[in-house]
């Protein structure tokens, strides 16, 4: 058991009926530990490129509802590819989780990823009622890479965010962070400041995703009150009017783990508890 109190799922390398396209990405969930005391299993997957031509892959992976969305999607090629990457990696994460926990092999099309009314992705299919499980998921994509986090514990809120360090305006901090947060950043050595600015951004976005509303309630609603540069763990709390939506989070600190891997910075958060 670790500081967060969760257990990383010792997931199978692959689901046998249809191979998974993504790889397990334990780096993103490393601090959530392994052991008998965790609150539930957890899988994270990562996919860095589409292995097939998009339309062919869409035929192979998507449910009828997703296929219809894909067919009608009016978006630039980058967006279409990243959407498909995100669906692929999220399906893999759920399939691996279900295989491990319930011993059931699902086909990719069995796992439909669709947004709830607020836009948070959820995994649905006839298997959820049959097996009596409802995984929570979170997806992120950036610069041609997609990652997904899946967990099996009722009431668990998950968030993952991935950002590229490439080609980022340094002055984005003026909008992204409050004066307190900018002071926190200013105390970080100059050579790692850009990376930490992005870690803090990822932490905010991971928590925003976990709560299910994203940044629609305002970027400044998610306030960073502490950053441990050694462990990469951020402490966040909700501020001001955002508490109108999540009154039970008043005075509660939410942890977000952050790390850098090559040109990417990422953050994951898992919150267990009532929020509304």
């Amino acid at each position: 058991m670790d500081a967060f109190g969760f257990t990383v799922c010792d997931a199978p390398d692959d689901v046998q009926c249809t191979p998974c396209l993504s790889r397990l990405w334990d780096a993103a969930i490393a601090p959530y530990g392994r052991g008998p005391h965790g609150s539930g299993p957890l899988v994270c997957c990562r996919l860095d490129a589409l292995p097939l031509e998009p339309d062919l892959l869409a035929h192979l992976l998507l449910s009828p509802g997703e296929w219809e969305f894909w067919r009608q999607m009016r978006a630039v090629d980058k967006r279409r590819r990243e959407w498909l990457l995100g669906r692929s990696v999220a399906k893999d994460a759920v399939r691996r989780l279900v295989e491990k926990q319930a011993g059931v092999q699902l086909a990719p099309a069995d796992v439909e990823i669709r947004p709830d009314p607020y836009g948070r992705p959820e995994a649905v299919g006839s298997w959820t009622a049959r097996l009596g499980i409802q995984p929570a998921i979170s997806i992120s994509h950036s610069h041609g890479t997609a990652v997904a986090l899946a967990a099996l514990c009722p009431g668990q809120l998950l968030g993952i965010d991935l950002e590229s360090l490439a080609q980022r305006r340094e002055d984005f901090e003026a909008i992204a962070f409050s004066p307190d947060e900018r002071r926190m950043l200013a105390a970080i050595p100059r050579e790692s400041r850009q990376e930490w600015a992005l870690r803090m951004w990822c932490g905010k976005e991971a928590v925003a995703k976990a709560l299910g509303r994203g940044f629609s309630i305002g970027i400044q609603a998610f306030h960073i009150i502490g950053a441990e540069t050694g462990s990469g763990i951020l402490q966040l709390e909700l501020r001001d009017q955002a508490l109108e939506h999540f009154p039970r989070l008043r005075g509660i600190s939410i942890k977000a783990y952050t790390a850098r891997e090559k040109d990417f910075v990422f953050s994951t958060t898992i919150y267990q508890g009532a929020v509304e």
Partner: protein, 197 residues
């Protein structure tokens, strides 16, 4: 700046979007959504900053619905991820230019967020905010230029003003709607219910 037409705002905004997302400006149509053009969260920050800088405006950091929920309280405008009838009424009043179908049937919050990501929605928001950015000094009639932060300065007399933020303007609009539209109507409904009982 205050008198820019929608077409002028669109042309300039399309250039900002195209540059930020490294796409051809021709791909930026009025109906396109920023995420469908490939915008990620940090791209939206970059587009926001560039838009504020070029149009001398101060964009709100949250949607008008979120601001309204703060004024109205929970469950009046949206409940369980969907707009209530009251929420639809307010959004139709706020967005008269929106296609009537936008607010027919069940309207999920995610659909509203998609609407706010449309290029056309941004263009109209920029045009509306630009009306609060003076082109001329109220004191001497001199030309106003951007100063530090969200401030404008007269090149002739040096008079400085602070721009009103989009959030402040949104909140003022919501308060006015709440007091002049919502409360009288709610009172009328309460009277009718009492009469029936």
């Amino acid at each position: 700046m205050p008198n820019m037409t929608e077409s002028e705002v669109f042309d300039k905004f399309a250039q900002i979007v195209a540059r930020s997302l490294r796409i051809d400006a021709a791909q930026v149509s009025i109906d396109a959504q920023l995420n469908d053009l490939g915008a990620e969260s940090l791209d939206l920050i970059e587009i926001t900053m560039e838009t504020e800088s070029q149009f001398h405006i101060f964009l709100p950091d949250k949607s008008i619905l979120e601001t309204a929920v703060e004024v109205f309280g929970s469950d009046i405008l949206e409940k369980d991820g969907y707009l209530t009838e009251e929420g639809k009424r307010m959004m139709m009043c706020r967005l008269p230019e929106a296609d009537a179908r936008t607010f027919q049937g069940e309207v999920a919050i995610k659909d509203l967020q998609s609407y706010f990501l449309k290029i056309g929605s941004w263009v109209r928001m920029v045009q509306a905010l630009a009306k609060y950015t003076p082109g001329e000094c109220a004191e001497c009639g001199g030309r106003m230029t951007a100063s530090m932060g969200f401030r404008m300065k007269c090149v002739s007399c040096g008079q400085e003003i602070t721009l009103r933020s989009g959030e402040e303007l949104n909140r003022a609009w919501v308060r006015e709607y709440y007091e002049n539209e919502y409360l009288p109507q709610a009172a009328q409904v309460a009277v009718s219910v009492n009469a029936i009982q």
